[in-house]
Symmetry: C2
Subunit: 223 residues, 2 copies
């Protein structure tokens, strides 16, 4: 990942905030639709009728659209936005989205609810979904939004099944040496033993500075 | 995971096939809507108008719905279905969905396209999405749909960024001893070196038979 991968989009911050609200509201309704599509037992004819309307709505949204993915954008006021990210992207209905709280540099946690759309074994969170969520929080923890990091190795130990419902994850920098950062993390039912434990080795590429002083531009750019 | 986690749902196979078509068609349109929501640049007012219609459609689908997640179902004809799975579920718009081809026992591959909804670093597949996809194909490869397996440990080595677009993954059983099965897998741009390599240790729980002879009931139950 290089600086050039981030898009300088000179929109005033208050406009970005307004757009974020509109995008989030739509994506929240799309999340509801995703869940309802999985769980609905209405007759086939009704599914077909709804399908036609969904297709028409997608076409309306596509009248003006980006040529590709959303990417990560920033303005010169230091505001950045990453609405398309598969874990934290507010505009991406694949993302729960997760709201990661950084408790100072090197420590983060998040609580969220994973519903029917994240199922693997019956009634349980997909093991790969736990990996997806952990990769995001670990990457953010390694970078702290102040340096570029890339995932080198990720090791996940599955201790027990994780039921769909409320979950909590935590991550912390365990060790750091030069361009290598080791992050430890876990995910599980809040207040219970971890369901999945993870260790990740993150790398600062040789062409990137070891510590960025510019803040903000890489915010939420991990993943 | 125990046999009791799978739901015996005595629907004739031809009816299951018909329902699968209707559910898949709707979920495909919802996938389009997810993508369009990420990429749309129509005015805020239009987003709000579409949002209200999406909410109304979700409410229509919810008039009759399952109390929870979709789970894995089977009938006594040996047909099983797993439409809610986060990777392979045809009814789950979070899933691409991936169509995993099993080339005989212990070998599998899949090709799919990962679009804007699977983004991590700008223009790239989210590292955790690669983990999610690999976990599914590795779990299916370990079980071969003929025995119960659970993910024990999963190690992912990130070799190079994986651009959004067409991807291919492959998995094979590398080693097997008693209740321990080692699976190796990789994901990358078709025809190019792997972007992510994975090794997984899968376990057959002590209470489960080492080799199931009943076929079909656990089909697509991994994850």
């Amino acid at each position: 990942m290089t600086m050039e991968m981030f898009i300088h989009d000179e929109i005033p911050t208050d406009e970005v905030d307004r757009r974020e609200k509109a995008v989030s509201a739509l994506a929240d309704s799309v999340r509801e639709l995703v869940d309802a599509t999985i769980r609905s037992t209405v007759p086939d004819e009704e599914l077909a009728a709804v399908q036609a309307e969904v297709a028409a709505l997608a076409a309306r949204l596509r009248r003006q659209q980006l040529p590709g993915s959303a990417g990560v954008r920033y303005n010169s006021e230091g505001r950045s936005w990453n609405w398309g990210n598969a874990v934290v992207g507010r505009g991406n209905a694949v993302a729960p989205p997760v709201d990661i709280v950084h408790d100072g540099f090197g420590n983060a946690h998040a609580e969220m609810t994973l519903g029917a759309a994240y199922e693997g074994p019956p009634g349980m969170v997909h093991g790969g979904v736990s990996a997806l969520m952990l990769d995001q929080i670990m990457g953010e923890t390694a970078s702290g939004f102040r340096r570029l990091t890339m995932t080198g190795t990720l090791t996940l130990r599955y201790r027990r099944p994780l039921p769909l419902g409320p979950v909590r994850m935590e991550a912390r920098i365990a060790h750091e040496e030069g361009r290598k950062i080791t992050v430890e993390a876990q995910i599980g039912v809040p207040g219970q033993d971890a369901a999945v434990e993870a260790t990740g080795l993150f790398l600062i590429p040789s062409w990137a500075p070891i510590d960025e002083t510019e803040e903000g531009w890489s915010r939420s750019a991990e993943g």
